[in-house]
């Protein structure tokens, strides 16, 4: 990937992150049920985490063990948050 393409890709990451953040705020007030709200917002948070990890932190070209560790953190956090919100 040449440098210009990489800078365009970074801009794309930023744009997607901003749109996803707007979607997060939208779902916080417009979801019909708590389950829908929690699932939608946490899935968006996971997507945003992936964009930061692979796009900004450039782990897309790292060894898979590093990607697994870094992706594991937001997945674990989302699971804990989701389970604690939806099981009581």
């Amino acid at each position: 990937m040449n440098s210009l393409k990489h800078e365009i890709a970074l801009f794309g990451c930023w744009l997607v992150l901003m749109l996803a953040t707007m979607a997060t705020v939208y779902w916080s007030t417009h979801a019909a049920t708590l389950t829908l709200q929690v699932v939608a917002i946490l899935l968006i948070a996971l997507f945003k985490s992936g964009v930061i990890i692979d796009g900004f932190m450039e782990l897309w070209h790292a060894e898979s063990k590093w990607r697994l560790i870094m992706y594991g953190w937001p997945v674990l956090m989302a699971l804990v948050i989701g389970v604690t919100l939806l099981t009581k």
Binding site: L10, F11, T29, S49, G55, P74, L76, K88
Partner: protein
């Protein structure tokens, strides 16, 4: 910042870990610390859901959105700065880092305003369990933002001194990785504290 003075480019197609290995270890340690705060917040919310709904109602999600936008824009400008250093344009990278610091300051100003508003309204750290966890969790992140801004300022100075270039930018990459870690943590904390439930 870096344990190696020169950047060793990996052969094309070979896996490459951006920045210094020591910074990644540090990032994992930081994520572990933030995990404890997020677990504490989540499990207490599980025990006292009504209290958290009431507490969250005192927070402004649009301010949270603006803080998020400031941090993410800052992360984008910092990532661009790394790319410019790789192209041997250190002074352009320095200018981008000034933009990243300014954007990060949006978060700082809004957070300080929010803290002031909540404190004046009586929602201080002792008000109830929600606000105790709110203050502790967000203040821990806020301190990391301040440290990250100091790191960006240092990197900016080094860029103006042309200390980084195509063959020597591991230290720059490592410092910027720390800033992205702060973004990553906020992406989880923002919905947990401001939006969910």
């Amino acid at each position: 910042m870096s344990t190696s003075a020169k950047t060793d480019p990996a052969p094309a197609g070979q896996p490459r870990l951006t920045g210094d290995l020591a910074m990644w270890i540090f990032i994992l340690a930081e994520l572990t610390a933030f995990t404890l705060f997020i677990l504490g917040f989540s499990f207490t919310q599980w025990l006292k859901p009504e209290l958290f709904v009431e507490g969250r109602a005192q927070l402004d999600s649009s301010t949270g959105w603006a803080m998020t936008a400031g941090l993410l824009t800052s992360g984008f400008l910092a990532a661009l700065a790394v790319e410019r250093v790789r192209k041997d344009r250190a002074q352009q990278a320095g200018a981008l880092l000034i933009g990243a610091i300014a954007s990060g300051m949006v978060y700082v100003v809004l957070k300080v305003q929010e803290y002031g508003h909540l404190a004046r309204a009586g929602f201080d750290v002792e008000y109830n369990t929600f606000f105790t966890l709110y203050w502790i969790t967000t203040a821990f992140h806020f301190l990391h933002v301040l440290l990250g801004l100091a790191v960006l300022g240092f990197l900016c100075l080094r860029c103006w001194q042309k200390a980084y270039g195509p063959a020597n930018h591991t230290g720059m990459e490592s410092g910027i990785l720390y800033w992205h870690m702060i973004d990553l943590v906020w992406v989880i904390i923002f919905p947990l504290v401001y939006l969910l439930g």
